[in-house]
Symmetry: C2
Subunit: 505 residues, 2 copies
């Protein structure tokens, strides 16, 4: 009988091999969004499906289950939350989740969401929710089945879905945090509206030549710590970050000559994700200790760099003269203060991805509040448009003129991503908490930003978050690093401190 | 007991699945040469090795062997060289080849050639053959072992290596064809030298802006039939064509602002390969009937488009005015005749990839004549530089000033590609034969080229070569399509007919 260490080594080798195969699928996915010629789409679908099937087969192999059971029956030579124990705990979590889903359900979800995404594209083009409705009904039915199969500690089916993006989070806790946050945000939005100040945002729609944008955004990504020897920035219709594996992390963005913030803050956002991926321990690749801990924490990194850093006055004290040199036609007559006010314009918009820092979270809450009854069965997919518009009016004022600017705007539900949206707002909350904790250790970060010094923050995040992989569940990691449980308070404080001077509140 | 058709369907499904997995490795390989960030190289090597190992495992599975044996024991409902019979025959060939090589040998070859390529890069940089020698010795030893393991019908070990690139070809036949060709080529080179005519090639080194080159080369590739909705052209240090799968074929080239022919004829060459890949029957993907038949025939396609078409006077009657519009600075004062003469300059060069159409084959013969004694053991790797220089002087005149311009110039041997070079010259011979056959059916093709009509030739090649996959072994395919066995005669005739007027012979 091999000893525990030998069994553990076998388990990790098995996990690494599976991750290595999955990372091949990662490259295929990246290529599909960037360089794949249209004629290759059908073949690519077959390639991806073959790899996904193999990965699922390996990840649910009886051998892995036996290894886990044998190791769990023995004493590990490790502290209860040491790296070995964490690897075993998280591999067990992944294994149980994967084996609870039948092959039929996995394949059916893959097939239906692939078709549903195409139906969504069409429905959106024709502004016709009814075309999408039968697909939404199928997706919701399958996700309800999935939630049932997975089960959750709380007995709430939605929690089973949420758990795969944010381990151990529950809808009840999230709802509590969101309720407090919502009141504060609505109050802040109203104050900003009542201030009467409206920044001149037209200066962001002047001509920003695309080559110059590309160069400028790349330099900014490099400055905040994204390593371009181990990564790339390409173009894609839907911006994303894809960590293929150690030394290979790829961002995408899209450029619009007459909209500066889109690509620039998009790159900062994706670079935030990329810096997390690049900060993972390459020696732990393919094991939980070398994986990111949750979507919420991942989003905390992207939103911190995009908003707390990238839209700060200090950041632009450093970058504004550089932007003026890069875009003389657009910016030579624009003072730093006006530029900073323009990129921090707060006003309700229908589209989530165009929303400012303050209203953004209200978009998330709305989706979270519709997803839960969809999964519990209290909301019928057919009633989504009306429910959406009602909530939108309540939180943000106007009513969307069409479902394209309402419930048809996001791809997520068509792709089966239910339970995913809340992690965006959790990310904003985590980001604020983490930033405060970093400042307690590193001193006034804005002083550093104004001098173009971003590495201390990057390195702090790397040591405290990235390098820890999945050693601790996300909420515990937050508490360990910041000294407090996840809370909305830091975010509200930061938003108030930032927008009070901008709007004379 | 399932019937033969059922067994055959299972065999094809198994073959398709393996090819689908191999095609994932194809994309990884393409990406490695184009967009992979340097930091990702180690991870990429692990990904590729995992996929290659899996593909080898599937391609040598006992189940496949059993299926083959059962099918071979039955009567197929197909003519002896019909598609079913061809699929079984070729899958047997591949299976036997793959299973004859031990896993140890496959892995050792992979490991040693990977390191030998790195050593070759260094040795070339430092113009020091001795650094490369121990690696060449290891590669040659392993290739001799491989030839032994594979065996050949003739008993000649080199034939076992040649066979994997050009099925059923033998060194003896190739040597016979090359001997006749060599005499004719040496005579032609001497006549050209003695003509005293030296075209002005400096016009090809004027400024050709890279964006304009990219556009012009892409349009030419499209004109000859390369489908850019099912393919791409990117940049890479070493140009290649990679057919990933149905609807997805990718070419690469490299641009030099002051060397027009490099990228342009490179793109025509790779597009010739690409048109072959795009001409394969997508419904047969993953089975021999949907695969290219040999390297020699593949090269016949690339060389035909590059040289017989792309360097013809007729081609430039169509493209020269377009080139003048695309590169006014370089070409507005250059008459068609001067341009045509410049791109057909014949003179001995040390470097194969820079060689003209006439001397090119002499470079190949030299390599072929060294490879055979290396594998038979009659030539020691240490004696390669002296043997190289001696042959070079005999065939082409001068002696290379250094091994960098001699035996260190090609990557092939370091990569374990021995038996590969002859297919380049075979491709030139096949191209001439196929072109003659096409003209017999389609009429004077130059008349069509001068009007920008390339589709009749493309379609003829597709119907006669591409769509046939591996239904017939390469030499039989040639005979079937051209009515004669592979011969050097057509090539010699075409070269004489072309260069006589250019050099007033």
């Amino acid at each position: 009988m091999p000893d525990t260490q030998t069994l553990y080594d076998r388990l990790l080798a098995d996990s690494r091999r599976t991750a290595l195969l999955a990372s091949c699928g990662g490259l295929l996915g990246w290529d599909e969004q960037t360089y794949l010629p249209p004629g290759g789409a059908a073949h690519r679908a077959e390639q991806s499906s073959l790899l996904a099937g193999l990965v699922h087969e390996w990840a649910t192999s009886p051998e892995r289950g036996e290894l886990l059971a044998k190791i769990e029956a023995e004493q590990l030579s490790d502290a209860p939350d040491g790296p070995m124990a964490a690897n075993v705990r998280e591999l067990r979590r992944d294994y149980d989740r994967a084996t609870k889903l039948s092959r039929r359900l996995v394949e059916e979800l893959s097939r239906v969401t692939s078709l549903a995404q195409q139906a969504w594209v069409q429905a959106r083009k024709q502004a016709d929710f009814k075309q999408f409705l039968p697909w939404l009904e199928q997706v919701v039915a399958l996700k309800r089945e999935e939630a049932q199969a997975l089960g959750s500690k709380t007995g709430v089916p939605y929690d089973a879905l949420l758990d795969q993006y944010e381990a151990d989070a529950t809808a009840a806790e999230v709802a509590r945090a969101f309720a407090s946050l919502r009141d504060e945000l609505v109050r802040l939005v109203n104050k900003i509206r009542d201030s009467g100040r409206v920044p001149d945002v037209s200066l962001l729609a002047r001509r920003y030549p695309i080559d110059a944008q590309r160069k400028f955004a790349t330099e900014a990504a490099r400055a905040i710590g994204f390593d371009l020897d181990s990564g790339r920035i390409d173009e894609a219709a839907h911006p994303f970050c894809s960590g293929i594996g150690p030394g290979d992390c790829r961002l995408t963005t899209r450029y619009d000559e007459h909209h500066f913030p889109g690509a620039f803050f998009g790159v900062l956002h994706e670079a935030g994700h990329g810096i997390y991926d690049q900060g993972l321990d390459p020696a732990q690749f393919g094991t939980p200790m070398g994986e990111s801990v949750s979507l919420g924490v991942h989003e905390s990194q992207s939103r911190m760099w995009e908003n707390r850093v990238g839209r700060s006055f200090a950041f632009w004290r450093h970058f504004h003269p550089r932007a003026q040199a890069a875009f003389p036609e657009a910016l030579s007559d624009v003072p730093l203060e006006d530029f900073h006010a323009a990129i921090n314009d707060v006003r309700p918009t229908f589209i989530r991805v165009e929303a400012d820092e303050v209203t953004y979270n209200l978009h998330i809450m709305l989706r979270f509040e519709l997803e839960q009854p969809l999964i519990s069965g209290d909301l019928s997919p057919a009633d989504v448009p009306a429910a959406w518009n009602e909530k939108f009016a309540a939180y943000l004022g106007p009513t969307p003129p069409s479902d394209v600017q309402g419930c048809l705007q996001d791809i997520h539900w068509s792709a089966g991503l239910i339970g995913y949206f809340p992690t965006y707002a959790l990310g904003n909350m985590y980001a604020a908490q983490l930033f405060d904790a970093a400042e307690r250790e590193l001193g006034d970060l804005d002083v550093q930003f104004a001098e173009g010094e971003f590495r201390p923050l990057t390195e702090w995040l790397s040591a405290n978050i990235h390098r820890r992989g999945r050693q601790f569940p996300p909420a515990r990691l937050l508490e360990l690093v910041t000294g407090e449980k996840p809370t909305h308070a830091a975010l509200v404080r930061q938003l108030r401190a930032k927008f009070a001077p901008l709007y004379g509140l």
